[in-house]
C-alpha cells in the first residue's frame, strides 16, 4: 500500500471513529418554540397551572437556572409564597409589591428590583440580577404566561391560587409560544400505550412491577392524587419505589383526564 493510501485510510478511519462517538451518546433535538394560539375560552384552572408548569421548564427556561445546582434559588425546593413574603419584609427590599403574587410578577419583569443575597451578577455586590426580564427576548413571555407560571408556583406549594383565570371572550386569543400539541389520542388504552405506562406498571395486559400496580390505584389514591402523580411523578412516591418515572410534557389535558377517568373507573369495576 503506498503512502497516499495508508495516510488516507488512517485519516478516514480516525474521522469515522470520532463520528461514531456521537452515535453512542443520547440523541435529542432541541426544537424551537413555535407559535401557538391559546384559546382562553377553553382554559380551566388545572390546564392553566399545567401551562405554567410547561412554561417553567420549557419556553420560560426558568428551570435552566432555578434548580438544585445553586445558580439561582430553587423555586421547587421551598414554599414560594412564604419566601416571597419574607423577601418583601427584607430591609433591603425597595420594590413595590405588597403580596406574594405581586412579588413574583415583579421579580420576573424586573429581576434587579430585589436580588437575593449571593445570587447577583458577579462583581455587582448583589445589586444586579443576571436574570433577563422574562417579558423580553429571549423568553418573551406574555402577561398570560407569566400569570400561568405564578399559578403553577402557588399550586405546587398547595397555596391558594391568587391569579384569576384569564377571562374568556369570544375567540380571544393570546399569542403564546410553546410546543405545538401532538395529535390527541382517541381513547384511554391508546393513551396508556402511547406513553408507555405498561412498561413499568401493571395495567392493561401488563404485569410489570417496576412501578406501583395501577389496576387498583383508585383504592389508594384520589383522582386529584393520580393526576398529580402523572403531572409531577416526584410528588408522591410509593413505598419501595424510587422516582424514575419521566414527565410527559407533550401530554394534553384531555389525555391526562382520560387516564385519570380510566384508572378511577377501573377501580370501580373491581369493587
Amino acid at each position: 500500500m503506498n503512502v497516499l493510501s495508508r495516510t488516507l485510510l488512517f485519516s478516514v478511519a480516525l474521522v469515522l471513529a470520532f463520528s461514531g462517538v456521537t452515535y453512542m451518546l443520547p440523541q435529542m433535538e432541541g426544537p424551537a418554540p413555535k407559535q401557538q394560539v391559546i384559546n382562553v375560552g377553553e382554559l380551566t384552572m388545572e390546564s392553566f397551572v399545567a401551562l405554567g408548569k410547561e412554561l417553567y421548564a420549557g419556553k420560560g427556561a426558568c428551570a435552566l437556572c432555578h434548580n438544585e445546582l445553586g445558580r439561582a434559588p430553587d423555586m421547587l425546593a421551598f414554599n414560594v409564597t412564604e419566601v416571597s413574603l419574607q423577601r418583601i419584609a427584607d430591609p433591603r427590599y425597595e420594590g413595590s409589591a405588597v403580596d406574594a403574587e405581586g412579588y413574583l410578577r415583579e421579580s420576573m419583569l424586573r429581576p434587579t428590583e430585589f436580588v437575593v443575597a449571593g445570587f447577583g451578577t458577579k462583581g455587582s455586590n448583589d445589586s444586579e440580577s443576571p436574570m433577563p426580564a422574562i417579558d423580553k427576548a429571549p423568553a418573551q413571555l406574555s402577561a398570560l404566561e407569566i400569570d400561568a407560571i405564578i399559578a403553577f408556583l402557588q399550586e405546587k406549594d398547595g397555596e391558594p391560587i391568587s391569579v384569576p383565570l384569564p377571562v374568556a371572550t369570544a375567540e380571544t386569543t393570546a399569542a403564546a409560544e410553546s410546543l405545538p400539541p401532538p395529535a390527541a389520542s382517541q381513547g384511554p388504552e391508546e393513551v396508556l400505550t402511547r406513553y408507555g405506562c405498561a412498561a413499568c406498571h401493571s395495567i392493561l395486559a401488563s404485569e410489570a412491577t417496576l412501578g406501583p400496580d395501577l389496576n387498583d390505584i383508585a383504592a389508594r389514591q384520589s383522582a386529584a392524587e393520580i393526576r398529580e402523580s402523572i403531572v409531577n411523578p416526584a410528588a408522591v412516591v410509593g413505598d419501595g419505589f424510587i422516582v424514575m418515572m419521566p414527565e410527559f410534557p407533550d401530554m394534553t389535558i384531555a389525555e391526562l383526564e382520560m387516564i385519570v377517568a380510566y384508572l378511577t373507573a377501573a377501580a370501580d369495576d373491581q369493587t
Partner: protein, 626 residues
C-alpha cells in the same frame, strides 16, 4: 565611534521604515472604520445606548428601521436544507481562512529565527510552509465568495439586516482582502529576491504587514459572528441599529473570540503543515530528505502544541464572557442540550494530547541522551489515560428503568462524582502539565547540563511540579465538592495559574540550566514511520474539534439569527441530534482533507520539473528518410 554609529543609524532607519509602514496600515484601517462610521444613515453614529440615555436612544430608535420579523415564507426553499449548505461552505471557508491567516504568523517567526541565527534551513522551511499557505489562499477566497452568495440567496432578509448593521465596513474588509493578496504574493514570490542583507529587512517588514492585515481581516470577520451572538449598538426593543460601526463591532464577546481564534488558528496551521511534513517524510527516498522533513514535522508539532497549551485559557475567558453576557446562553452550552458535545470534545482533546505526547516520546529516539528520561514515559502515559477516562465519564446517561433500580438513582455512586466539571478540570490540567513534562524531557534529551547548580535547579523544578499538582487536585476537590456551586468556577483560576506557573517556570529554569550545556548529536530522520501518523492525527482531530466547537458556539443562539433581535423562523431553527452534528462535522472534515491532499499535490507539483525529451537521432533520421 563612527563604526558603531553607522550600523545603529541603519538599524534605526530599518525599524523606522517598519514602524512607518505599520502605522500607515493601521491608519488606513482606522480611516476605513472612521469613514464607515460617518457614512451611517441619519445621526446613528451619535447614538450610543448607555443606560442613562436609553430612553432618548429608544425614542430615536423608533424612527429607524427595526429588525425584520421573519416568517417561514421569507426563506427561499431550494429543496435542500439551507442550514446544511451554509454550514458546509462556511466551515470550509473557516478552515482555509484559519490556515492562510495562521501560517504567515509562525512563518515570520521562523524567518526571524533564521535571520538571527544565519541558519538557511529555517528560511527554507519558512518558505516551504508559505507554499502550502499560498495554494490554500485561492481556495479560501473561492469558499468566501461562495459563502457570501449562499447567504444572500438563502437568508436575504437576515443579510439585509446585517448589511445595515455593518454598512460599508464590508468594503473596508474587501479592501483589506486586496491588500492581503498583494502582500501575500510579494512576500512569497519575493522571498529569494529579498533574502539577505538589507533586503531581508524589507522582506521581514512585508511579513509583518501581511500579518497585520491578516489579523485585521480576522477581527473584522469575527465582529460579524459576535454581533449575531451578543448584539451591541442595537435598540433592544426594536432591533434597530442605533450605534455606529464601532459600537456594533465591539460587543462583549468580540475580544475573547479574537484571542481564541487567533491562538486556535496558529495551533491548527501548525498541525496542518505538520501533516504536510509527515506526508513528505513518508514519501522521502533519501536520508537527507527524511532528515529535512523530520525536522520540519518536529517544528510544526512544536508550533501546534505551543499554541494549543494556552488555548483552554482563552476558551475559559470566552466561556466566562458568554456566561456574563447571558447566563442562559452559558448554561445551555455547558449544562443543557449542548453539554453532551463536551464529552466528544474530551475525546478529541485527549486524542490531541495523546498524539502530541506519543510524537515527542517517539522523537526521543533521535538522541542517545534520551535513555536518561525514558523511564518517565510510562508514568506520564498512565496519567494521560486516567485523565482521559475521567474526562469522558458522563455525569449521567440514559438508562433503562431496570438499570436505574440497580444503580440506585440517577448517578453512579462511585463514578458519578467523576462526571462533574471539577473532576474534569483536575484531569485536563494534569494532562496539560504531563504534556509539558514530555516536552521538557524531550528538550533535555539531547543536552548534558553543565551548570554547577543543576541539582538545585532540578529540585526546584520537581518542587514546582509537585506543588502545582497538589494545588490542582486540592482546588478541584475542595471547591468542587465541599463548597457552594458558585465557588466552583473560582477553583479554575487556581488551577489555571498553577499550570501556567509550571510552564513559565519550566521554560525559565531550563533556559538558565541550558547555559553552557553540551549538546548531543541529534539524528534527524531516525524516527519510526508510525510516529508520523501522530502528525496526521493532530490536524484531523483539530479540524474535527474546530468544526464541533464552532457548531456549539453558533448553536447557543438557539432559534435566533441575531440573539434576542432577529428570530430564526426557518425550517432549520432547531438544535439537531448529536448524530446529525457528528455526520456534518465528519462531512466537512473529509471535504477539507480532500482539498488538503489537493493542496499538497499542487505544492509538490510546483517543484516537479519534466526532463527534456531526448530524441533518438537515428530513429529520427530514419523517420525523416522514410
Amino acid at each position: 565611534m563612527m563604526m558603531f554609529a553607522i550600523p545603529i543609524r541603519i538599524s534605526l532607519a530599518r525599524h523606522l521604515g517598519t514602524l512607518l509602514a505599520t502605522a500607515a496600515l493601521i491608519g488606513f484601517v482606522c480611516f476605513g472604520f472612521a469613514a464607515t462610521a460617518s457614512a451611517q444613515p441619519g445621526d446613528r453614529g451619535t447614538l450610543i445606548v448607555f443606560a442613562d440615555e436609553q430612553g432618548a436612544a429608544s425614542t430615536n430608535a423608533a424612527s429607524l428601521l427595526p429588525a425584520p420579523v421573519l416568517q417561514r415564507d421569507d426563506y427561499p426553499n431550494i429543496g435542500v436544507s439551507s442550514r446544511s449548505i451554509v454550514w458546509v461552505i462556511a466551515q470550509m471557508h473557516l478552515f482555509f481562512g484559519a490556515l492562510v491567516l495562521a501560517v504567515p504568523i509562525f512563518v515570520l517567526v521562523i524567518e526571524i529565527i533564521g535571520f538571527r541565527t544565519g541558519d538557511d534551513r529555517y528560511d527554507d522551511m519558512a518558505h516551504e510552509f508559505m507554499k502550502v499557505s499560498l495554494t490554500a489562499y485561492a481556495i479560501t477566497a473561492l469558499f468566501g465568495g461562495t459563502l457570501a452568495l449562499a447567504l444572500f440567496l438563502l437568508y436575504p432578509q437576515l443579510m439585509s439586516y446585517l448589511t445595515r448593521a455593518f454598512g460599508s465596513q464590508v468594503l473596508v474588509y474587501a479592501g483589506l482582502f486586496f491588500l492581503e493578496s498583494m502582500l501575500l504574493y510579494i512576500y512569497y514570490y519575493g522571498w529569494n529576491a529579498l533574502r539577505y542583507g538589507n533586503r531581508k529587512w524589507v522582506h521581514l517588514t512585508l511579513g509583518l504587514l501581511l500579518n497585520a492585515v491578516g489579523t485585521t481581516l480576522l477581527v473584522v470577520a469575527n465582529s460579524w459572528t459576535t454581533f449575531m451572538m451578543a448584539p451591541s449598538g442595537v435598540d433592544p426593543e426594536t432591533g434597530a441599529i442605533v450605534g455606529n460601526i464601532w459600537e456594533v463591532m465591539k460587543g462583549p464577546l468580540w475580544n475573547p473570540l479574537n484571542l481564541h481564534r487567533l491562538i486556535a488558528n496558529v495551533a491548527f496551521g501548525g498541525a496542518v503543515v505538520g501533516a504536510y511534513a509527515a506526508f513528505k517524510f513518508l514519501s522521502a527516498t533519501t536520508p537527507e530528505e527524511k532528515a529535512h522533513y523530520d525536522w520540519m514535522g518536529y517544528s510544526s508539532n512544536f508550533i501546534a502544541i505551543l499554541a494549543f497549551l494556552p488555548l483552554p485559557f482563552a476558551g475559559y475567558w470566552l466561556t466566562a464572557e458568554i456566561y456574563a453576557y447571558s447566563q442562559q446562553m452559558g448554561i445551555l452550552a455547558m449544562g443543557g442540550i449542548l453539554a453532551w458535545l463536551f464529552v466528544i470534545q474530551a475525546v478529541l482533546i485527549c486524542t490531541i494530547l495523546l498524539a502530541a505526547n506519543y510524537y515527542l516520546w517517539s522523537g526521543m529516539a533521535r538522541s542517545e541522551g534520551s535513555e536518561r528520561y525514558r523511564w518517565a514515559i510510562k508514568y506520564i502515559a498512565t496519567v494521560l489515560i486516567l485523565g482521559f477516562l475521567v474526562w469522558v465519564t458522563p455525569h449521567n446517561v440514559i438508562y433503562t428503568a431496570a438499570e436505574a433500580v440497580k444503580l440506585g438513582g440517577g448517578n453512579h455512586p462511585v463514578l458519578g462524582p467523576l462526571g462533574i466539571m471539577p473532576a474534569k478540570n483536575i484531569a485536563v490540567f494534569l494532562m496539560l502539565i504531563c504534556t509539558f513534562l514530555s516536552f521538557q524531557l524531550y528538550r533535555r534529551a539531547d543536552k548534558v547540563i553543565a551548570v554547577s547548580w543543576q541539582n538545585w535547579g532540578n529540585a526546584l523544578m520537581a518542587s514546582i511540579y509537585i506543588v502545582a499538582i497538589l494545588n490542582i487536585i486540592f482546588a478541584g476537590v475542595y471547591y468542587g465538592y465541599f463548597t457552594n456551586t458558585v465557588y466552583k468556577v473560582g477553583s479554575s483560576v487556581i488551577q489555571v495559574m498553577s499550570t501556567l506557573v509550571v510552564i513559565v517556570a519550566g521554560v525559565l529554569i531550563d533556559s538558565l540550566m541550558f547555559r553552557g550545556a553540551r549538546t548531543l548529536h541529534v539524528s534527524w530522520g531516525r524516527v519510526a514511520d508510525r510516529s508520523q501518523y501522530a502528525l496526521f492525527a493532530l490536524p484531523i482531530t483539530f479540524t474535527w474539534l474546530m468544526a464541533l466547537m464552532g457548531y456549539v458556539r453558533s448553536s447557543v443562539r438557539t432559534h435566533w439569527h441575531v440573539y434576542t433581535v432577529v428570530r430564526d423562523n426557518s425550517a432549520d431553527n432547531f438544535i439537531p441530534t448529536l448524530q446529525t452534528v457528528g455526520n456534518m462535522v465528519t462531512l466537512v472534515t473529509l471535504l477539507f482533507l480532500a482539498f488538503l491532499l489537493f493542496i499538497f499535490w499542487i505544492a509538490n507539483l510546483s517543484g516537479t520539473r519534466q526532463l527534456p525529451i531526448t530524441v533518438d537521432a537515428d530513429a529520427a533520421g530514419a523517420r525523416v528518410g522514410t
